[in-house]
Every structure is written in C-alpha cells, then in structure tokens.
C-alpha cells in the first residue's frame, strides 16, 4: 500500500502526488461505475463512483474523468478520503464533457485515471487554527480537507469555513453546511453576491467574511479555492489580517489536459499546475498569479 502524506508544502511532490501508472498515464484500468447522483444546484452534479478496486487519494487531488468520443476533464475529488469505495466528484456543467458527465445515470460507466496532483497540508496545519475559504465550485476540492481535519478535530484550534457563491440557489452541500454550522466546534459563514430580501444570510464577498471571522492570524493555516480573482482578493485580506504568505495555500485550475506534465498546457511560470499543483503555497506562486495570459 502506498504511503499517504501531505504534499503541497514540500518542494517536490510526495509519493502520492505521482500518477498511479507512471509507465502509461492513459487509461489502463477498468471503467468505474456510477452508483449515485446528486443534483447540488441547477448546473452542478455530484457523481458517486465505485472504483473497480481499492482507491486512495489525498484531499485536494483530482482524477481525469473520460467519456468515450467526447473527451476528458480534470475533476477534483470531493468526498471523504477515508471512504475508499464511494469516490465523489462534483462537476459543474460548463461544456461538452462536463455536460455529458452531468447527464450520467446510475449504472453508467466512466473512464478514470488518477489520482493526480499535490494535496492540502492538512496534517501540517495541526496545532493551529484552520481557515478554509471557498468560492463557488471551490468548495468540492476543499471538502475532503475539511472531513480529514474534522476527523481529528481536537488536533486543531479554531476551524473556520467561509464560503461564497453567486446566489443562494448556487450554494452547494447545503445539508452539510447546516450540519457544520450546528457544531459548536466550528465557525461557518456563508455569503452570496446577490439575493432577494427573503435570504436571511449574508450578501457580500468572501473577504468581508474574513474580516469578521474568529481566528488567530499568527497561528493560522488558510486553504483557498475559487475563481482566481476571488483568490487574489482573499489572499490580500488574509495577509492584511496577519496570516503569513507561507501558510496560505491555494488550489489553481488552469488548462489541465494531460495531468502528467507532458502537454504543457497548464504552465504557470516555471510550474505545471497538473504536476506541481494544483495545491500550491501562495508564497510559491504569488508572482505568477497576476500575469495576463497570452
């Protein structure tokens, strides 16, 4: 069995950051079966996939999901890393491949290769406060990190989840948000960009939630996922609050196509996001984030 360790904090990806089939990165396993479907919002679906054999992943890693004749896309794993039989992928319908994936039904099959990429340094964050900041479809890649942290809740100080979406109807995992909010050992705050007066929650942006959130900036690790503009504003608010650059981690989504560092489409400065990321410390990638794409 492979050793499972955090990998984002190190210069070199850890053992599990390597693709499973180093000799052949392409499909070399049996298809996975869709065993459950959940419609999380009008354009977001979570597929519950059963792997043909034991499957392990680290929070923050992704799989390449393949539909014959249509194409392949990188999708973060959104379920519990401790559950090796139900591997969840939360997918937003934004194009032909994701649309085909969102239309799958129980019993259908999906090509899967992975897991790929670096992971959230969940264990390294122990001993301090953990602030998880998600925007839009950024919550699914963070949920495994939250599951893992909550499974060892007494090893952390405050656990804070801040989540922003476009409207109340776009919020994902609403049942779980309610359950997390009901816990006494967790601070959950949600905001939306626009809402009608019936919405009793916050309207505004995630950086505003940060300014109100309870955490000790000097002893905080922050994990951030969302659209890159939201990430940049959030990082500024974290730094302004006093969280150091080396304890802010991001997951980036660039044009990942091969997932094994061969095609070069996801290059970010000296890094390939599929191979060296998607989870990076902000310190590592800060200078490359604001550069305009050619």
């Amino acid at each position: 069995m492979r050793t499972v360790t955090d990998s984002a904090g190190s210069n070199q990806p850890g053992p599990t950051a390597r693709p499973r089939g180093d000799t052949s990165p392409w499909i070399d396993s049996e298809p996975w079966e869709v065993v459950g479907i959940r419609h999380d919002s009008p354009d977001v679906v979570t597929l519950d996939l059963a792997p043909p054999g034991p499957f392990e992943f680290l929070p923050g890693q992704f799989n390449m999901l393949y539909q014959p004749g249509i194409g392949e896309v990188p999708i973060s794993i959104s379920g519990d890393p401790a559950d090796h039989r139900h591997v969840l992928h939360t997918i937003r319908d934004v194009g032909p491949v994701t649309s085909a994936l969102c239309a799958l039904r129980p019993g259908d099959q999906v090509g899967v290769r992975g897991p790929y990429g670096t992971s959230w340094p969940v264990a390294a964050a122990e001993g301090g406060d953990l602030v998880i900041v998600a925007g839009g479809i950024g919550l699914p890649p963070l949920r495994p990190a939250l599951y893992q942290a909550l499974s060892r809740r007494d090893h952390y100080g405050r656990v804070v989840l801040l989540y922003g979406a476009r409207t109340p109807g776009d919020l994902l995992f609403t049942d779980e948000l309610g359950a997390w909010r009901a816990r006494f050992d967790m601070h959950v705050s949600v905001t939306v960009d626009a809402a009608d007066p019936d919405w009793r929650g916050n309207v505004g942006v995630v950086p505003d939630l940060l300014r109100r959130a309870p955490f000790d900036p000097g002893a905080t690790s922050a994990f951030v996922v969302g659209p890159e503009i939201m990430i940049r504003f959030t990082v500024r608010a974290l730094v302004e609050a006093g969280v150091t650059d080396d304890r802010i981690y991001l997951s980036l989504e660039r044009n990942m196509q091969c997932a094994v560092g061969m095609c070069g489409h996801c290059q970010l400065g000296p890094y390939l996001v599929c191979r060296d990321g998607p989870v990076f410390s902000h310190q590592k990638v800060a200078r490359w984030l604001g550069i305009r794409e050619a």
Binding site: P96, G136, A194, W199, N202, V203, R211, P227, I229, F233
Partner: protein, 156 residues
C-alpha cells in the same frame, strides 16, 4: 455609578487603538440602540445624521427597484459600521438599512461628531482615515461583486 458606553466603543473594531482621551470625547455622541428583526435603522432619502457601530446581528443594505422588488446590496454584521452618508453633504441616506435579525448597535450622532471634528482637526483626521479605509474596503467589495466571478465559465 452609571455605566458609560466607553467600553463598548473601545471594544468595537472601528475604534481599535484610538487614543483613550478621544474615546472619552466621543462617548458623548453615542447612544445604545436595539432594533427588532425587520426594523429599519434608516431609510433611503431621509436625512442622515447618524451612523451605527453594529455589536450584534445583521443589517441588510437594500434598495427598492420598480419591477424587481427589493434588492439586497450588502449585509453588515458584528464589528461593522453602517452609514457613511452623515459624513458627506447632502447628508441623505442612499439605501435602506434593515435589521435582518435583532440588532444591537451603538448610534453615533453625526452632528455632534462633526462639531468635535471642527474643534479638534486631529480627531477629525483620525476618524476620516478610518472612514476612508472602510470606504475603500466597501468599494473593492462592490467591484468584486460586479465582476460576477462565480458566473458561468466556458470550459470542457
């Protein structure tokens, strides 16, 4: 011995680090207020002579739009300040401020404050700096909202 509002001002983020002498001066312009859910702290178009330090609860900044109902622009919460209009002429509220849930706040009298700023420009400068910071944060937040960053992306 009657309790003053000075500890409430000192504990609020907006006044963090302010010279205690100035806090003593400002407390004369402060009053405690409680609003039940759905009560209005202020209404669009009315004279703006106050601002509020929110201690507890949520306040929605809203505007009524014909054909679209009431739109919530932003929600403010504990530690936030509601109200800039008292500071700049013509001193009229630009939005409705409605308590989404029961709200405890300290109401600051703008006319009283402006008089103190005129008497002590150093105090005025310090408070203006704080309001400028708040204004910039709100402007950036509004820009981020306008960018609609969670809008439908095109991809695979």
């Amino acid at each position: 011995m009657p309790q003053t509002l000075e500890p409430l001002l000192r504990d609020h983020k907006f006044f963090a680090g302010l010279d205690p002498d100035y806090l003593s001066l400002l407390v004369g312009c402060a009053a405690n207020e409680v609003f039940p859910a759905d009560a209005f702290l202020f209404r669009e178009g009315e004279p703006a002579q106050t601002f509020y330090l929110i201690r507890e609860g949520k306040v929605a900044l809203e505007i009524a739009a014909p054909g679209r109902g009431v739109l919530v622009v932003q929600t403010l919460g504990e530690g936030d300040v509601a109200g800039f209009s008292w500071l700049i002429a013509p001193h009229r509220w630009e939005f409705d401020g409605r308590a989404v849930e029961p709200v405890r706040a300290v109401r600051m009298d703008g006319m009283c404050l402006r008089a103190k700023f005129d008497d002590d420009p150093r105090l005025g400068y310090e408070l203006m700096r704080r309001f400028a910071r708040l204004t910039v944060n709100r402007l950036q937040a509004t820009r981020l909202q306008l960018l609609d960053v969670y809008g439908r992306a095109h991809g695979n």
